[in-house]
């Protein structure tokens, strides 16, 4: 493992080949937004839930793929990743919490509430992951054992 600032095994950090984590995270945001629009467009009637479950499943699978891909990255600036990730997670949990509060306040119940809550959870994890990855990918890897 390279200890040279700005490089990783002799390759500049900006030029490292990494899995398409950013692209998949953007696709996840798009799928969550599509799910939200689909459900919102049918209110106050209950939308047919098949497409909503489908979009939720796709978003969950994309997020899972990203988490697995991230966990295999060696070496990686994990300190920076977790530094950015935890603060971004705090911020987005607050934003997602506000949206959840509005859904509950507006008497959204049952399966729609479950789907919206799970989509919000994916949103609240996915965006911090994207922000943290976007910063950490350009950070030099510190000395020490690979994580």
């Amino acid at each position: 493992m390279s200890a040279v600032a700005g490089t990783d095994r002799g390759v500049p950090v900006a030029e490292r080949r990494l899995p398409p984590i950013s692209e998949v995270a953007v696709a996840t945001i798009a799928v969550v937004v599509m799910g939200g629009i689909y459900l919102a467009a049918h209110l106050p009637r209950r939308a047919p839930l098949g497409p909503a479950y489908g979009l939720l499943g796709i978003a969950g699978a994309l997020l899972l793929w990203n988490v697995v891909s991230l966990s295999r990255l060696r070496p990686f600036a994990w300190d920076t990743f977790f530094l950015v990730g935890r603060w971004a997670l705090l911020a987005y949990l607050i934003f997602a919490g506000m949206l959840e509060f509005i859904f509950i306040f507006d008497h959204v119940r049952g399966a729609i509430l479950v789907i919206l809550t799970l989509m919000l959870a994916i949103y609240a994890v996915n965006i911090p992951l994207l922000l943290a990855f976007s910063v950490a990918r350009y950070q030099p890897v510190a000395d020490g054992p690979d994580r």
Partner: protein, 211 residues
């Protein structure tokens, strides 16, 4: 790695080379990535927003939606169409000084404006009965969801990560000018796209406002 000087790297290909570059590497002023002094203001706005939603008062909801939406639209248009092109033609030093003062503020202003606009707007539409599927402008409302959705994907997926990555790069002892240039171009282009999309928001919202 062959060193690319920051001034070479930061100059967008489509813009003329900045005039009168100072010799040597540009100086990066001290800055906070997240301006902590702004957080109490954000907290106060969010508390006010929750109070408006819980109280379900039409004026308070309208205030948060109109003020937030107006500022969001105005800032997007101004940054995307006015500041962006100007930024691309500034000297590297000026661009760095501007970015280190401007981008941290954007990091807390924009998510706050977006949250207050959307949360209050949703509740306002519910209050006025505009969410009903039989509302005569329902198609316009769904169109506004789509426009906001696309803007959210662009802002959350491209603009904000680029903003944050630039700030962290500028914190390094030797920032990579080429990388900053690439990320700044992404920031300016995506801000321009969301700025243009805000025109669609203006069309839809003015249509909804007059019924």
């Amino acid at each position: 790695m062959a060193e690319v000087t920051a001034d070479q790297a930061l100059a967008p290909a489509a813009t003329p080379a900045p005039a009168a570059m100072p010799a040597g590497a540009p100086t990066v002023p001290e800055f906070q990535i997240v301006p902590l002094r702004g957080l109490p203001i954000v907290a106060a706005i969010l508390v006010g927003l929750v109070a408006a939603i819980v109280g379900n008062r039409l004026w308070a909801l309208d205030f948060f939606h109109v003020v937030g939406g107006g500022m969001w639209t105005g800032i997007d248009l101004f940054v995307g169409l006015i500041i962006g092109p100007i930024l691309g033609r500034l000297s590297v030093q000026a661009r760095i000084e501007f970015s280190t003062r401007f981008m941290p503020k954007m990091l807390i202003i924009m998510p706050t404006l977006v949250t207050m606009t959307l949360a209050a707007g949703w509740q306002l539409a519910r209050h006025l009965g505009n969410l009903e599927a039989h509302y005569h402008n329902h198609a316009w409302l769904v169109a506004s969801y789509c426009v906001v959705g696309v803007m959210a994907v662009i802002a959350l997926g491209f603009l904000e990560p680029a903003n944050l990555a630039v700030l962290f790069e500028l914190k390094k002892p030797r920032p990579d000018g080429e990388l900053i240039g690439k990320l700044m171009r992404r920031f300016v282009y995506t801000a321009g796209i969301t700025g243009v999309m805000q025109v669609a928001t203006l069309v839809i919202m003015t249509k909804l406002a007059v019924g």
